[in-house]
């Protein structure tokens, strides 16, 4: 489904890359977790997949469902089925949360040649999802992410995800900021949403999320590269030992090449 090859990315206008030849492939129905220390490039990868214009791809390619993702605008990627739950969702006073959700939902449905939802169907769906993630309906009346607590912002991202029904859901540290109840509710929803057609890229710092959502693969992103891939046990090791040992291994690898 997703095929990233040799991806090298820098902040737009700069030459030092953040991602340095990253390779990753994700098949349909699989859950991939990406872990890595702060600043290793996890959000950069997420943003590049979603089409953020603030980064420039210096090298490499991304294929998604057989298409060259890099030539597509963010909205085209969304229609194709990419969804990024932002690490820091943007607050926009003056845009109503429900209005926005409906616009987004119907733009994407139109783009996918599906019928737009009328007000009644839309509301019915939203209500169901609100209940699933434990949010009050008054939530919809507020401005988009404006004055939301950290946890509410993350929950709102999941609400959007549920409405937009992506093929690849990228959750960038969605677990941080959520209290334990919300984390459990959201994990449960995500598990329900696991289907053979949908893939997941879970970016996280903590093993905690992965004890609720069993990943098929765990990758470690370190200094712009995937340096290790394993299963859930890799996450457990990180939890116990931290990232320190990676430093040693990485140095070792470099020395080995010499």
């Amino acid at each position: 489904m997703l095929e990233i090859r040799d991806l090298t990315v820098a902040i737009d206008g700069e030459s030092t890359p953040i991602l340095k030849g990253l390779n990753l492939s994700i098949n349909s129905g699989k859950v991939h977790a990406i872990m890595g220390p702060n600043g290793s490039g996890k959000s950069t990868l997420s943003h590049v997949l979603a089409g953020h214009t603030g980064y420039s791809v210096l090298q490499g390619s991304i294929q998604f469902m057989g298409q060259d993702l890099l030539v597509l605008a963010p909205e085209e990627r969304a229609i194709l089925g990419i969804f990024l739950a932002f690490q820091y969702p943007v607050a926009i006073p003056g845009i109503n949360n429900m209005y926005f959700l409906k616009e987004a939902c119907n733009r994407i449905r139109q783009g996918r040649h599906e019928k737009s939802l009328d007000a009644v169907d839309f509301l019915a769906q939203v209500r169901t999802h609100l209940k699933q993630i434990g949010l009050d309906e008054s939530f919809l009346k507020r401005s988009l992410n404006d004055g939301f607590s950290g946890g509410e912002k993350k929950s709102n991202e999941i609400l959007q995800m549920l409405m937009l029904q992506p093929k690849l859901a990228i959750l960038d540290e969605t677990d941080s900021g959520l209290d334990i109840d919300a984390l459990q509710a959201i994990s449960k929803v995500i598990n329900q949403q696991r289907t053979p057609q949908r893939s997941w890229l879970l970016v996280t710092h903590y093993q905690r999320l992965l004890s609720y959502i069993q990943p098929d693969y765990v990758h470690i992103l370190y200094k712009g590269r995937i340096v290790k891939t394993g299963d859930h046990n890799l996450a457990l090791r990180l939890e116990k030992e931290g990232y320190g040992w990676l430093q040693a291994e990485a140095t070792h690898t470099v020395e080995g090449h010499d």
Binding site: A73, E75, A104
Partner: protein, 456 residues
Amino acid sequence: MVMDRQQADWQAHCQGLLQQIGCREATWLKDWRHQHLEQALALSFPNRRHEIWRYTDMTAWRSADLSLSLPLEALRAYQNTIHKETVLAQLLKMPSVYRAVFYNGHLQQTHTQDLPSQAIISNWTTLLQQNPELVQDICTRLQYKESAQLFKSLNYALMQDGLLIYLPKGVQLKQPIVMVSLHKVGEKSTAPTLSCNQHWIYLEEGAKAVVWQVSIGLDAQNNIAYYHNVATDIQLARGAQLTHYQLQSHTQQAQHLSMQRVELQRDSQLEQHSIALGGRLARQEDQIILQGEGAQACVSGLTVTMGCQQVDHDLNIQHIAPHTTSKTTCKAIAAQRSKSVFKGGIHICPHAHGTQAHLQNTNLLLDPTAEINTKPELNIENNDVQCSHGAVVGSVDQEAKHYLQSRGLSKQEAYRLLVNAFAKDRLQAIHHPSIYSVTEQMTLDKLTRIAELNLS
């Protein structure tokens, strides 16, 4: 010598304009006009070397070959137009309001059914016949209020009509008063017309009113300018409350100059909302004088400019008495080559202890060719005050745009939503439902036109 020549032409021109005004007026009024014309002509014409005119070029007012709009022509044109304009139909349809409609500066109709006795909503040209002493009394009081200002003196000299709103002690109107000012260049005219209005809003002790002042330029396609000079004098006696909504949607050729002075006595309250959308050059000068202890003023503003428009908002708030409060929130959106100028002057006098004055000016610059000038000016003469002020100029937030696009909205749609969102809180501050809906619609129409430009 060029200057002298221009000045001489300008003087001759103004004198010519004064002669166009009916000669059957009372002697005191004739004298009053002449006196103010002399005063106006004695003042030097605004020059961009003067600090207050630094961003604003008024020379069109001097160089245009203006003629005054005539009452009979206005009446005829109004009757021909009234059925054709949808916006007019919308305004005239508004239920439960008192209403006065002006066309090119002349009153055409009023609707004042069920107005409490002693309250007045009437134009002063009518009052001149019914109660000339009242008009003379108001005029006499007006002229000593402030130092001479060229365009105001000119307004006094050439004023053609205007509304008097008077509410006696304790009268609280339940319905809003809608003052509509329509402008249209005559079918056959090739030269610009000038209309000068003088409005008076006087609320006695404890009186309460909502006034909506709407100025609209009809026939937006016509590329001949019209000129509108309007002065408004507002007095709020002890405990009086005025909510003053303003919406101007002049044509892109219009020259609009509005000068307003509000005096607030003890514990009185002003809430003002100014939405400015139109005009080639539209300038609003507000003077708010917090004269009595405990007086409060809340000012909200939104200007939207595009093309080669310039809109100025020159706001001056004087805190004279102790424990007075002012809160100003003004926003501007400027696209293309347009210009937006904001001055927020706050003066806190030595005796005005316990004063609170807050001013925030936030601006959205949509194109690098557009220009926004903002200048908060604080002058504080005592220590016991709470003051804050801030001015920000920004462009469309790229992170927000990316966020919206990542949810399937096109670039243009994201842009449109973000621009609308910026304006939203100024519109939502309008609490009267039908005033809100007309204002919102006109503002969104304009913002949509701006978003469409961005599309191409």
